[in-house]
Symmetry: C2
Subunit: 537 residues, 2 copies
């Protein structure tokens, strides 16, 4: 295993599995009781026993690729291939835990420049080889799994060597970052200039700048800093047809905004190699506060009021009664049920700005019927906000599925969508393998609407992958039927692809296909993702 594997995530779990402590027997018993099911442990197999496909990349193609990126940067060893076999959804982890990595790539390529990416695309196009861009590998929608499509082979294009700050413009407050930079390193480079992106999703520690752009990521402080797509000023994209540069000026009326075609394109139109981003000053001051609301509706009304007024907090989120109860119980807070719904607000900026944000939020939250709980519950949340995926691994090893799904809709559509998804999932999981706990929070709010982020906990049963898909299908159908988007910040990948025709309609699918054909006529870029196979008009 080469040195840079130190930064790879575990092949069967999120991040560094040492962080995922096993579930104690007593807690396991409590969970089993709550879910009304027997729990069967799901330990990972020996790495050497995992099934990988026989490589089908021809020696000629391999030689050309080595010529382009260098001998050392073409990895065909088992360990490298296994660690690029897919992302980190529960079905991904279940498959690998079952010893199945049959979609592992033929090779992992580590290009060192934009021009090397262009040259790789040229080789792969001529050799009918699928190219699957790989940033942090954090996809939970099947976005980085090396599907072959019509190709004879597949390579994973790991962008970790594109890790530089290319330019910083202090007047315009923009930074040009290479796509393979992980967030902590990007923030280190920006901190040297006193700047930050303020982009903090749960995948913060591993996800990359290019991945954020390709999937339209959204961070926990999206209310204050905007979604990642809001930060993007320009992008450089390598396509099989050559280089595409999009954006650059702060605003334009020169036709459609082609940045918005590249954002969310998930590697299907091209490989994003550089992103120019708006930056903010590292905040002078921060202040957090928790509030309690009697129920989800009154809490949601308070969030809406916060969002539609100004000044606004930088962070605002609300847990439903179930999530509020479970989080209180997990943090040792006892009967969390008595606190109703937990609403969290965070303020950042200059001392003056924090004080103004705080005063405005306080007025609004009191008016909407909230009770202040101080800062302590927020510091618990901040402390553990990257731990969710580790807890999921802990539970998975113990035979419990704990997976998330998310959507967004208008404020007026929020309550019907919340009810529809909650009941669709609960119904899909109720049966011989027990019941489920479905909880939800609102974590991204806009003047016109908000996101819903569901966590579903249930026993793995005898066929855990099918069990999860049943819940996911029920939820996705409910989302489509109620006018929600199939993804607010996780992207489409392979998993949401069946719902894309409902999302953009047959004519929208035609448009996506036309763009794909213009940029990737041979269809080598990330096949099987984003664009539905059928369903055009």
């Amino acid at each position: 295993m080469s040195a840079d594997h130190a930064t790879d995530m575990s092949w069967f779990a999120w991040g560094d599995p040492d962080y995922a402590t096993p579930l104690s027997d007593s807690l396991r018993g409590l969970v089993a009781d709550a879910l009304g099911a027997e729990l069967v442990e799901l330990p990972p197999p020996d790495e050497e026993e995992v099934r990988l496909p026989d490589p089908t990349l021809t020696p000629a193609a391999l030689a050309e690729l080595r010529n382009v990126v260098g001998e050392e940067q073409v990895r065909t060893d088992r360990a490298s291939r296994l660690r690029h076999a897919g992302g980190k959804s529960t079905p991904d982890l279940l498959r690998r835990r079952s010893g199945d990595a049959t979609n592992a790539p033929d090779a992992v390529l580590l290009p060192g420049s934009h021009d090397e990416v262009l040259a790789v695309l040229d080789v792969c196009e001529r050799h009918h080889t699928a190219v699957v861009p790989f940033g942090g590998g954090t996809s939970v929608v099947g976005g980085v799994e090396p599907l072959r499509g019509d190709g004879v082979a597949a390579v994973s294009l790991d962008l970790r060597r594109l890790d530089r700050l290319v330019a910083f413009d202090p007047l315009s407050q923009t930074a040009t970052l290479q796509a393979g930079l992980r967030t902590p390193r990007a923030e280190e480079l920006l901190a040297e200039h006193g700047r930050t992106l303020g982009h903090v999703p749960q995948s913060y520690e591993y996800a990359t700048i290019g991945g954020y752009a390709a999937t339209r990521s959204s961070g926990q402080a999206s209310l204050g800093y905007g979604r990642f797509d809001d930060l993007v000023v320009a992008m450089r994209v390598a396509t099989p047809r050559g280089t595409l540069e999009v954006g650059g000026t702060p605003a334009s009326a020169a036709g459609p905004d082609l940045r918005q075609l590249v954002l969310g394109s998930e590697g299907a139109f091209g490989v994003i190699t550089e992103v120019t981003l708006r930056t903010r000053p590292v905040p002078e001051a921060t202040h957090d506060e928790a509030w309690s609301f009697p129920d989800f509706d009154s809490g949601a009304a308070a969030l809406r009021a916060l969002t539609q007024a100004a000044p606004r907090p930088m962070v605002a989120r609300l847990s439903d009664p179930t999530e509020t109860f479970v989080n209180a119980a997990l943090s040792g807070g006892g009967d969390g049920g008595s606190v109703g719904c937990l609403l969290v607000v965070g303020f950042e900026g200059t001392e003056q700005q924090v004080s103004d944000q705080h005063a405005a939020a306080r007025r609004t939250l009191e008016q909407e019927g909230g009770t202040p709980l101080g800062s302590e519950p927020v510091s618990q949340w901040r402390h553990s906000r990257f731990h969710g995926p580790y807890l999921r691994d802990t539970l998975l090893a113990a035979g419990v599925l704990s997976e998330t799904l998310e959507t967004a809709t208008t404020w007026s559509g929020l309550r019907p969508l919340y009810e529809a998804v909650t009941s669709a999932v609960a119904q899909a999981l109720d049966g011989p393998h027990g019941t489920s706990v479905v909880m939800c929070h609102i974590s991204h709010v806009y003047p016109t609407g908000a996101s819903l982020y569901f966590t579903v906990v249930t026993a793995a049963g005898t066929d855990p992958e099918q069990r999860w898909w049943a819940a996911k299908r029920a939820a996705s159908d409910a989302i489509a039927a109620h006018g929600g988007t199939i993804s607010h910040h996780h992207a489409v990948g392979a998993d949401h692809r069946p719902w894309m025709t409902a999302e953009v309609q047959p004519l929208g699918v035609d448009v996506l296909r036309a763009v794909k054909t213009a940029l990737d006529p041979a269809g080598v870029l990330n096949p099987g993702k984003l664009i539905p196979q059928d369903g055009g008009s």
Copy 2:
């Protein structure tokens, strides 16, 4: 002339020509001296003498169109055709003043519904007839001129009958408006709900909701309310391939944002028939203030500081020394030169918000070296802010070209772009027909950059249209060479089309063409606009 012609603009001038008072002889002498040229009056010809093309729409096509929208809503009279012969750029007005309306449409259609628009597109596709959407007819880039393209005829699709508020969602604060609504009427309908769009471009009195979306309009309070594209939540679009619905949720990661392909598509991809928009409360309070800065650089630095901090004003603009001088002189303020550069800020919202915005702006502007001038200069600007096009008509009749052009770039690129455009225009106009006055303001500001809006005044000379094109070409080449966008808020139309390849590169042109072909395979929608004829990759 039918009743609704009362709301048509003049065929040879902006708006209602009664508002354009003639230039007095003494002022005319002063202008001639300043421009170093003889001025030759350019009176409009008799309406009956203007040359229109012979109609080429076949009786069969005409019959089908009458069948679709109704006999009364297909206008083939001279007056209707002349009033849809093009937009309101100086070259447009010069051509019509010279008696040339040879691009007038064969017919003007007034559809009454989305379905009628779909049916019109079907008829026109089968009869090889170009369809040119027409909102307020305010285009200054040749966007509404009925070019035939490869078609045998052309119809102007006047959307004025699509004038309803379709839906208002008080919780989500969105309104769905039909595309043909002019702004004052749209604001009336919204005011019944206590809401406003806050979108106030110079074309406010005539421009339509659909036109704003199709051209990515930006209003004078864009700092506070956002550009028009920022307000758009969803759109309904009639295309020759059927209906395309884009957007609807407040944010999404379900692939590329197809709204952003429709925004700025200038009728080349489809006809926007409905737009769902974010609305704001009608402000409780407003306050305006003018400040003086010693020069353009210090004023621009102050604007930048205002924009990059929070809270921000709702309006912020800065005139360069020439514009400051000219405006002061025009408003009878005497030697405006002594005030350096005029910076205007406007605050809106609740009393508290206005007070907070004001306090923050005051701190910043004092820190940046500004001198407060009170509210009076702003009320002059507010009072006359829709009068610019009328003044242009006054000057044009007197033999003076007075035209505008605009761009945007990053803060760090602003000064070089300003200098390059100013000197390119001045150089192009200097010669036997005298000299020119080139003035500029910054009126749309963003954290990462700003727009530049130039006004050019020069004698018409012997071939005024060619004289203006020489200046426009010089400016556009300078913009492209210095990384500015070819349009910040006027769109592309026919006039900026030669610079679109530089703007989006050959590969970007390919993408636009691919989308066009997917939605309008026969190419009947607004041919000759937006997408360059050559220049793909």
